[in-house]
Structures are given as C-alpha cells and as structure tokens.
Symmetry: C2
Subunit: 106 residues, 2 copies
DNA sequence: CAGGTCGGTTAGTGAATTCTAACGGTTAGT
DNA sequence: ACTAACCGTTAGAATTCACTAACCGACCTG
C-alpha cells in the first residue's frame, strides 16, 4: 500500500510548528532565520521541519547568497486538495446512498 | 493560537491506519468490525483511531442495534479542503510576486 | 435466564517524534 | 586573511504515539 507515503504528506502538515511554517510561507517566500524569528523554537528545529516539508515535496528551497529561501510548492498542495476533495465527494455520495437505501449489507 | 487545534485535524489524517479508515469510510458507512476486518490491526486499534477521528470531527457514529455505524463528516472534510485551498492560492500569489518583483524584503 | 456476538476502555510496552545544544561549512565584508 | 552572519547536521534526552491484551457492558437469540 502507498498509504504510508500519503500519510507522510499529511503528516507533514500534522505538526503545529510545521503548519505555522506553511502558513507563514503561504504569505510569501522566506529564509530560515526569518521563519525561526517568528516561531517559539530554535533555528535547528525549523531547519529540521523544513527538511521534512521538503522531503514531502511541499516546499522548495533556493540558495540566495548566504541565506536560503524557502517557498511552498502549489502543485503538492493541489494534490493534497484533490485527494481531500475525492474523499469529500465520495462521502457525500455515501450520505445520499444511506438516505435513499438504508439497508445494511452483511 | 489555535494552530494546535488545526494540527489535530491534520494529525487525524496523518496516520496510515487512520487514512485507510477514512478511505474505506469514503466508500460508505461501515461498522467497526468490518473496518477492522479489512485492516492489519485489531479492533481495539480501530476503535481508538475512530475515537480520534470522531474527536477531530471527521467522522460521526450512529448506534444500529448491537453494532455501531461510522461515516465521514463531509463538512469537516470541506473545512480542511478550504484551508488547503487558501494555502494553495496564497502560494500561487507568492509565486507570481516572486517572479514579478524578486526583491527581498527586510 | 444462559450463551454468544459486538463494541469501548484501560494498562502497559515498544517505537517514533520533537526539541535543544554544540559543531562544522559556506558566503560576504573589512 | 580575519571576522561575522547564516545555515545544515548530529547527538542525546524527554515527550508522544500506536499497538496488543484483557476486561466489562450492551444487545440479540434460544
């Protein structure tokens, strides 16, 4: 099953610090120092979280002189959104099905 | 910050077993036994995961005789999708901004 | 009432995760 | 060349998480 790989993608957004990083990155590309400056953790932690996010394909990095700029990857976000949307639509179908035919299969 | 609360919602989807449960529930409402029957874990684990998912508002339960039927909550899924969509659109804006004006703000 | 099935909860164990602290490497400026 | 600033990595401890096993309560059938 590749559910684990998908879970890794969702897991990247599961941590509060990482979600804050993504939220901050959504406003625009940022360097690690700036990211850590607005968070209650050290730069090391931010760097590790960035590595996880980068490994999940959610962010991309670009070297800019002595600092390194990180930005979100809209494609990965769209993929996550599509999967969630599929769940949503199938859940709606299940709702309608349950209302129209409340028979329990064995 | 309520980032932790949001992180809990994402965290509910972060685990592989829980993601499999959600995927199975997306095809239609199901009882705990049926859920556990198609997963490599015991009913206890499924029940615990169901509690986490229910606590996160992603699933709802309904007593049906001696068994208990679980189904997805499309509203919660839509909320998650909206948040992801907001990230996505803001990331796109950041992309355009970076392309049009590659100046680094202080 | 006795027996069987189904589901939730608790205790306890083993593994994974997150964080800080300290180190080394790279780039820019004097 | 030297110093300063910025970033990534590693080691290690503390917390959190997921799972099995065992127990108890609820519902249906004979």
């Amino acid at each position: 099953m590749d559910s684990n790989r998908d879970a890794d993608r969702w897991g990247a957004l599961a941590d509060g610090t990482r979600l804050a990083i993504v939220a901050r990155l959504a406003d625009g590309p940022l360097a690690v120092g700036k990211l850590a400056d607005g968070l209650p953790v050290s730069r090391s932690a931010v760097s590790q979280h960035l590595k996880i996010l980068k490994d999940a394909g959610l962010v991309e990095d670009a070297a800019a002189g002595t600092r390194r700029i990180y930005r979100l990857n809209p494609v990965a976000l769209a993929a996550l959104r599509d999967q969630l949307d599929a769940f949503w639509q199938r859940a709606l179908a299940g709702y309608a099905d349950a209302v129209l035919a409340p028979t329990e299969e064995d």
